[in-house]
């Protein structure tokens, strides 16, 4: 059983040498090396086009705009300026509040819909899924723009109501306020919330629900004790997918928000445009990002303690 078979000498002689051959042999043997070789173009792209620019943005926020030049001496002036003028923290707070409302409304509205597709639809699931997914991919700008023409002073709702004689004068309060922003965002991001919730509901093993019923849970109790906790990952993902991008949004406030519906994104955008103060704009962006991250951490901590309480 311990007979030693010596490899034939000619086999050894045939093993190719040299760096390329060595790399190919290493590729064949090491999954980690093969994997990272295949990942490298994507990782390289994201390092150059995502990570590096963000790092640079942080660095930029410590510099100063000197008319058309950038003064590269380190300063905290931009960050201090943010906290000195109460308008900026107020605007950021308002943005977070608007986004939180949007997230809450979107997720609450999306949950029953996702539940319906996951548990009630049996035959044409594919069609329902496609109906829900398609708006997710179509033009965001146009979905927002649609609301401008719907809510406008001479828009669809006002002219429609006048036409059927319900009102005599157009309702001015429809457009250009925070409510219009919340409504538009809730509509524009609806599909983003449904999909993750749907996926987490669909994954729930149906026998768990039957077991809960068998063990004496009513429908409401079963939902609270089984379905809701198990769909939590989807709820969390949905909330993050809606909350994070809406805080910095400037398209919606610009089109339907008016002065009272302005958000932090509008200020950042104008600092990189007409305002022309890039370092301060960078500082605002960084502060916004930090705020978002802090909110997310708070949210995750909150949901975790909620889950523990239910369990």
């Amino acid at each position: 059983m311990t007979d030693h078979v010596a490899p034939a000498a000619d086999v050894i002689a045939h093993i190719p040498r040299g760096p390329i051959a060595r790399f190919r042999r290493a590729l064949m043997r090491s999954e980690a090396l093969s994997g990272y070789t295949m990942l490298s173009p994507t990782l390289l792209l994201l390092i150059l086009v995502m990570a590096l620019p963000i790092v640079l943005l942080v660095v930029f926020s410590f510099w100063t705009q000197n008319y058309t030049d950038i003064d590269k001496t380190f300063t905290l002036a931009n960050h201090i300026k943010f906290f000195e003028r109460s308008a900026y923290p107020y605007l950021l707070g308002k943005s977070v509040l608007i986004s939180s409302s949007v997230t809450l409304i979107t997720v609450l509205l999306a949950y029953p819909m996702a539940y319906f597709i996951a548990f009630r639809v049996t035959k044409h699931k594919l069609i329902w899924l496609i109906l829900i997914t398609v708006p997710f991919w179509t033009s965001y700008l146009l979905r927002v723009f649609a609301w401008k023409i719907i809510l406008g002073y001479n828009g669809v709702i006002n002219s429609g109501l006048i036409e059927i004689g319900l009102i005599a004068e157009p309702l001015a309060f429809l457009l250009y306020n925070p409510f219009a922003v919340v409504l538009t965002l809730a509509h524009a991001w609806a599909a983003f919330a449904i999909l993750p919730i749907y996926v987490s509901l669909e994954k729930i093993d149906r026998s768990l629900l039957e077991a809960a019923t068998d063990l004496g849970d009513g429908r409401l109790k079963r939902f609270i004790r089984i379905t809701l906790p198990l769909s939590m990952p989807g709820l969390i993902a949905a909330s993050m997918l809606v909350f994070i991008p809406t805080v910095g949004d400037y398209v919606t406030p610009n089109l339907v928000g008016g002065t009272s519906g302005t958000m932090i994104g509008n200020v950042i955008q104008s600092l990189f445009g007409r305002g022309n103060n890039w370092p301060f704009g960078a500082a605002l962006s960084i502060i916004t990002m930090i705020t978002i991250t802090a909110m997310i951490c708070l949210f995750l901590w909150g949901t975790r303690s909620f889950r523990r309480r239910v369990a």
């Binding site: 999954e31 980690a32 093969s34 994997g35 295949m38 990942l39 173009p41 994507t42 990782l43 792209l45 994201l46 086009v49 995502m50 590096l52 620019p53 963000i54 640079l56 943005l57 029953p112 819909m113 319906f116 548990f119 009630r120 049996t122 699931k125 594919l126 329902w128 899924l129 829900i132 997914t133 708006p135 991919w137 179509t138 033009s139 965001y140 700008l141 146009l142 723009f145 649609a146 719907i150 406008g152 001479n154 828009g155 036409e163 509509h187 999909l195 996926v199 669909e202 993050m240 997918l241 994070i244 991008p245 910095g248 400037y250 994104g265 950042i268 990189f272 890039w278 916004t288 990002m289």
Partner: protein, 273 residues
């Protein structure tokens, strides 16, 4: 599932009514764009005045629009091919190989999905400015590639997870080199995913506005062109016509892509996006 729904009495019930209302909420606002694009009036208001194709005729004669359309298509094609290529390789790496740090790597690639568009836009603007790379379709393309690659990867991961990895091993075992394995097994089986990824990446690039807004040089894309037109009230009907066209195209392309992609995947185990 049958025991769950049988208790409901009717199959749809109150939830079904809700679902229909919800779909109406999603679709009706957008339907006003095509509706008013055929309305024979410069004002977007009821009552409808009459049917016209005038706005579409004006659109077809608008040189700025045609240039922007050409740019968007060109960009969409390049971005979709590159994003699908990158996404396929990345998906293959994370589904087929045991690699250390798999979790963090996936999180990193998915980051563009959760970084607010405006932050990415200005960050790219800053780096383009500092490195002396002028703003052009190329800079927009880089931005679009960054946001569509995670989607391409998600589509490809769910497709690759949909078939037995032993199939690729069997092909290798039966004498195929890596290229032959790809050509004879991986590619034909991953084809629905590849087609879906191409179409979806194309629509993402075609519809993307925020990055394009910051990164556009003299040549603009279609959404940036629309944004510029919104300032002119007399242009609104033409914008509506353009919007209707874009919605139509996106709708058809995406419906086809989703149908093609999900058809093959078993609904029960669907991991969706």
């Amino acid at each position: 599932m049958s025991s769950v729904s049988s208790k409901q009495g009717s199959r749809f019930g109150a939830l079904g009514v809700y679902a229909v209302i919800y779909l109406a909420f999603i679709y009706i606002p957008v339907m006003f764009l095509p509706l008013f694009s055929f309305n024979d009036s410069i004002f977007i208001a009821f009552p409808l005045k009459g049917f016209t194709l005038e706005w579409y005729r004006q659109l077809a004669n608008s040189e700025g629009m045609l240039d922007a359309l050409y740019n968007s298509i060109k960009l969409g094609c390049v971005v979709s091919v590159l994003a699908t290529l990158l996404g396929t390789f990345a998906a293959k790496a994370v589904t087929r190989y045991r690699i250390p740090g798999r979790g963090p790597v996936i999180t990193f690639i998915m980051l563009p999905l959760v970084i607010p568009g405006i932050i990415m836009g200005i960050a790219l603007l800053v780096i383009a400015n500092m490195s002396g790379v002028g703003l052009s379709l190329f800079t927009i393309g880089l931005g679009h590639l960054m946001v569509s690659t995670p989607f391409a990867m998600l589509v490809m991961v769910s497709r690759l997870e949909g078939f037995d990895k032993n199939l690729e091993e069997a092909s290798k075992d039966l004498g195929d080199n890596p290229w032959a394995t790809f050509r004879r097994v991986t590619f034909p089986l991953a084809l629905p995913g590849i087609v879906a990824s191409l179409l979806l990446s194309f629509t993402i690039s075609f519809d993307e506005f925020i990055l394009a807004f910051f990164l556009a040089g003299t040549e603009t894309t279609l959404p940036v062109y629309i944004w510029g037109q919104l300032r002119f009230p007399t242009q609104l009907p033409t914008v509506l016509a353009l919007g209707a066209c874009i919605l139509m195209i996106s709708f058809v392309v995406v419906t086809f892509a989703e149908w093609y992609r999900r058809r093959g995947v078993q609904l029960k185990t669907n991991s969706g996006v």
